[in-house]
Structure formats: structure tokens, C-alpha cells
Symmetry: C2
Subunit: 351 residues, 2 copies
């Protein structure tokens, strides 16, 4: 296969983890006879510094014409905690999601037996956890009309959803559930919100098309609780943008392996793959960042092209590295810590 | 003191736990020379069944004219998971909050040394946790305009906040922080929402009036993570209605003592006190429900009248009961379980 991949390294440790993902992906391509052309483009604070915008048109062109986008991380302290700054890296993120139509954010949370002790939860609570959130990513209160009235003393944000938006996301959820344990949980706040009632009735109407899938409906506050109590009781969860933002982050820390969690944002034409961790500015350039989440994101990318063996080879290599203790500082548990590059080298040699 | 307390027992185990709170409150009143007149009124499914409405005008009259409201729990399976039912218990709750102007929901999460093992979190994560959420309760997306367009295919919910609403809530937060460790965290999503930016700028402007309080600003998704990782790093947190709904529920399970957590909803004229647990319909009438959270809610009520010794006597009695093992099934750990009534009797005799 010939693959054209847009490479958005971003800020902080982004470029370092992306480098290793490229290295391992190239090794896979070589092994399986594919040809990857990487197309680097600017994003985040790096893009603001260079051209004054976090998601410039030139970057959009590269992404739109690529077969997929591999993304590092964005965010820089100079833009932190200043939500009123005129240009901010997050705006680029939102613009990119909307412009590329990345409507379904796929966020798995799973455990590695060797890392269970890293979880803040007791072993018996977290053991066996393997869930996936599908978060709607281009609608809801993120993109509704927002503004001020009364000389700035009143602020508003409008949350809007259409039936078609819900169907598109829910369809992915049902399909994913069919490939797993056939359990789907629709997370909403239908006891209060009209948009949630639209979500619920739309998903209910789709149940008949997937008679094998057992669907449950839970309120977002209840899910926020159960994720901490019995995370292994969930399988596939679908939800709207803001609930998904909160719950996927909550879910990401329960496994204790946040530095290992990949994600995908699926669009109709192009999809984007990125680690869920941030840009950790304080670790920049120190060769200590864990590249595994980005490498597992690249594995999701291969699988999304239907290249299942390739993806599996990458995931197997990561498991082997974990078992062999070829890990960065964050997972070294006081033992020997490898550098970002050395972990990438080892994985490239072992896929 | 002469106290007039509206008594809204509600559904499920509500009446049972309320009974015990009345019993213990009466014992306190006797000991300290107060006179409590209890004014029972209908609410929840019980009120729907009786008069067709979850928060009838007659109940509102009772509450409005009371010095405080003591509330049990509402919710009944026949109304569950049917957000489209024409009349639902939650509507009564929202109507009551708005009509009584209960703008600040106070939700503490603390630990009992003897119950640390009940927490889903590892001991070192949860030990020492003692935080309080102030959730705004009468504004935001709960009460904004909501509806459908396009023949029902588009739904919307509007989130609105005014500067005055934020100030009112934040003032309570600063004041509470002054009585504790002087740390205040404002939880928002100011990188995306205009209402959050109003929250943040309003709180920032108030900082100068409380120079001793150290204020931090965190995004709601980050707080959802840190609550699981390091709950004991928080003290007082203020937030808007929907974020508060999700985060206070998340916080309630981390201590492992949900059956013990009280809450208060403060208004300008009258305030309401209630356990945070639900109506547990399956436990109704079995004399197994834990009345302690309701009793601790009554303790908050006394303290809110300035009767600090009275409140403390109730909390001390609960601690003594926990140490003596005078507890209901949920806390018995395989040991002897007392009934709801017996726990109430013991506490009434020991305050
Ligand atoms: C940076 C922010 C705008 C973004 C979001 O809220 O979607 C982030 O939290 C995420 O989840 O990707
Ligand atoms: C029942 C529901 C409307 C309510 C809310 O969302 O406020 C509940 O979850 C709560 O937190 O008291």
C-alpha cells in the first residue's frame, strides 16, 4: 500500500514522540512492503509562533489531501490559563476537528497486566477493564452560538444537536459493539436536557437495526461514578462532545497507563490518530517522554486502513517491551529507564 | 430556639431515613433546649401519585414559610429511564430549587478513618481527603431555553450565566475557603465556553477582596482526572451547575462512604438539607437503609442556624457509632448489622 500521512508534531514533547512513531511505522512498512510518505505540517503553539495561527490553511491542505493524520500534542505554557488570549492552540484543534469533519473520537481505556499497580484504583476494581468511548467531536456546546449580552454581564453558550449527527456517531457505536461484546451504553442527561432526549430517542430508534446489541442508557453523573467504582462493567460507550471530554479524561486515569493510551478521531474522508496525553512542556527535549501512546495510535491508523496484521505487530512489540522492561522513566518503577529514542529503536527492531 | 422545619421525606427509603433524622434532631433539641416543629409535605413520586405533581404549591408554601427544609430522597422505578414521561420526580426537584432560590449546593466529600477500605481508591490516594464542592444550582444549561426545531430533528439547550449569579456563588466559595485552608479552585471550561470565561473573569476580579485566599483555575476535564488521582489535593471547589452535577457525583464515590455524605442547598431565604444518596427503591421498608447521611445533613442544618455545638454533638455521635460498629448492613463488613431504626435509636441516645 502507498500511504500519504500528514504529520502534525505540535508542541512540547510532540515532535519527540512523533519521531519514534515514524521510526516504528517505517519499520512496519518495510517489513510488510508498504510505502509511507510523511507530510509534516505546522500546528499548535509552534504554528502560532511561525505563522500567527494554530491551524493554518496550508496545514489544512496537507491534512485534507492525506490518507490519515498522525498528531503529536499541542499546548504551551505561554498560552496556558489565559483563555482570553486572542489566539490559542486549542482554537486550532477545534478548527481542525470541524474543518476535517472528525466527528467520532475513539478513546479506548484498557489495562496492561504488568501496569495494574500504577492505577489509583484497587486492583480488583480495575482488573480486566477494557472499554471504549465514542465521543461526538464536531457538535454540541463546543460549536453552538456563544457570546455576551448586557454589556458583557451575561454570557451564553448554545448546545445544538441534529438527529443526523447523533445517528452518524451512534452507528459507529453499534458497529464497534458488534465487533466486541455487543454491549453499548448511551450516556446522556435526558432527565434535564432536550439535546439528550434527542440522543436517547435516536439511539432507541436504531436498536432494531442491531438486534444483537444490548443497549443501556445511563445519566452522565451516574457514569462518572461507575467509571471509578466498576470500570470493567463497561464496554462501548457513546456520548456527546462535552460529556465525552470529561468522561474520557476521567477514564484515562483509572487505568494508570495514561502514557500508553492512543486515540483516533474519525471523519468521513480522513481520520486522525494521536496519543491522549498532553504536550508536557517540562519534559521537552529531555528524551524522557514515553512514545508508546503515539506508537499505539499509529497502530490504530494501520488497522483503520484494514492493515490488521501491521497494527497487531506494533501492539505486540509494545507488550514485549513492557514485559522486557524497555520503558521510559514514567514506567520504570525505580528500575532502569530508557530514553524516548531508545524505546523507539527497540520497538522498530522488534516489530 | 424555636425552629420550623419543612419535612420532605419523598420516595423509597426517604421516609425511613427522615424518621431517624427527626428522632436524633429531637433528642438534640431536648438536650439543648430548642423546640422543633416539623411540617411534613409531599414531594417526588409520592406527590405525583397523590396530587399529580412532584412539587405541589402546597409543598412550596410549607417550604417557603419554614426556617429550613429537611429532604429525604426522590425517585421511583416507574419513572426511571423514561425521560419523556409527562410528569417526572426530577422536574419537582428542579422546580423546587428554582422556586426556593437554592443557588448554592454544598457537597462535602470526606473520609472516615474506619471506612478507608471501602474506597475504590488505594489508601494512599484517598487518605486525608476533605473537600467541598459549591455547585451553582439554579442557573446554567439546566434552566436555559430548550426545545426542538426542524420538525423535532434539531434539539437545543441554552446555557446562560450572569455576572451576578457567578458572584453570589463565588462569594460563598471565598467565605468557605476563609474558614478552611484558604484554597479555592474555580472549575470551568474557559478554553471553550463563553459562560466559563465569564465565570473565570468574575472570580479573578473578586480575588482582591480575599487577599488571603489562594485561587486556582482548572478545566473541568482536568479536575475529573485529578479527583481520582489526588483527591486530597483539593479543598474548596466552585463550579457551574452541570459540571457540578458530574463532578460532585464522581467525588461522592471516591471516599467509599457515599451512604454517609450529607449536603446542603443554600438559598437567600431558606436552605435545604439532604443526603446525597438516592431513594433506593429496592430497600424500601426493609429497615436496612443507612440513616447517617440524613442525620449528618440535619447536623449541617443546625450549624447553619449557628448552632455549632448541636451540629458537633450529632457528628460526634455518628463517629462513635462507626467506631462502636453500630452500623447498617452497608457498613457492617460481614459483622453484625443494625437496622435503620436501631441506628437512629442508638444515636438519639448518644448525642
Ligand atoms: C483543548 C480542549 C479544547 C480539548 C477539548 O475540550 O476537546 C481537549 O480537552 C480534548 O479533549 O481534546
Ligand atoms: C435528578 C437530577 C435532575 C439532579 C440534577 O441533575 O441536578 C441530580 O442528578 C442531582 O444532582 O441532584
Amino acid at each position: 500500500m502507498k500511504l500519504n500521512i500528514a504529520l502534525l508534531a505540535g508542541d512540547g514533547i510532540g515532535p519527540e514522540v512523533i519521531n519514534e512513531a515514524v521510526k516504528v511505522s517505517d519499520a512496519i512498512a518495510k517489513k510488510f512492503g508498504h510505502e509511507i510518505t510523511w507530510k509534516p505540517a505546522l500546528t499548535g503553539a509552534a504554528a502560532i509562533d511561525a505563522v500567527g495561527e494554530p491551524y493554518p490553511d496550508s496545514t489544512h491542505e496537507v491534512c485534507k489531501n492525506a490518507d490519515a493524520v498522525l498528531f503529536g500534542a499541542i499546548g504551551h505554557p505561554k498560552y496556558d490559563n489565559d483563555p482570553s488570549a486572542p489566539v490559542r492552540p486549542e482554537q486550532g484543534l477545534l478548527k481542525m476537528r470541524k474543518a476535517l469533519g472528525l466527528f467520532a473520537n475513539v478513546r479506548p481505556t484498557f489495562t496492561f497486566p504488568s501496569l495494574l499497580d500504577k492505577s489509583p484504583l484497587k486492583r480488583e476494581r480495575i482488573e480486566g477493564t477494557d472499554l471504549v468511548f465514542l465521543r461526538e467531536l464536531t457538535g454540541g456546546i463546543y460549536f453552538g452560538e456563544k457570546g455576551r449580552k448586557d454589556n458583557g454581564d451575561t454570557a451564553y453558550d448554545n448546545c445544538v444537536y441534529t438527529r443526523a449527527e447523533v445517528q452518524r456517531l451512534a452507528k459507529k457505536g453499534f458497529e464497534l459493539a458488534m465487533t466486541r461484546s455487543k454491549k453499548l451504553c448511551c450516556v446522556d442527561k435526558a432527565n434535564v436536557l432536550e439535546t439528550s432526549r434527542l440522543w436517547r430517542e435516536t439511539v432507541q430508534a436504531m436498536e432494531k437495526d442491531y438486534p444483537e446489541v444490548e443497549v443501556s442508557y445511563e445519566f452522565v453523573d451516574a457514569v462518572a461514578m461507575r467509571l471509578v467504582q466498576w470500570p470493567n462493567s463497561y464496554d462501548v460507550l457513546i456520548t456527546e462532545n462535552l460529556f465525552g471530554d470529561i468522561l474520557t479524561d476521567e477514564a484515562s486515569v483509572i487505568s494508570g497507563s495514561m502514557g500508553l493510551m492512543p486515540s483516533a478521531s474519525m471523519g468521513a474522508e480522513v481520520s486522525l490518530f494521536e496519543p491522549i496525553h498532553g504536550s508536557y512542556p517540562q519534559a521537552t527535549g529531555l528524551n524522557i517522554a514515553n512514545p508508546m501512546a503515539t506508537i499505539l495510535s499509529a497502530a490504530m491508523m494501520f488497522e483503520n486502513f484494514g492493515l490488521m496484521e501491521e497494527g497487531k505487530a506494533m501492539r505486540d512489540a509494545v507488550n514485549k517491551a513492557l514485559e522486557a522492561g524497555v520503558v521510559t522513566e514514567d514506567l520504570a518503577n525505580g528500575g532502569k529507564a530508557y530514553g524516548t529514542k531508545e524505546v523507539g529503536d527497540w520497538l522498530a527492531a522488534n516489530v
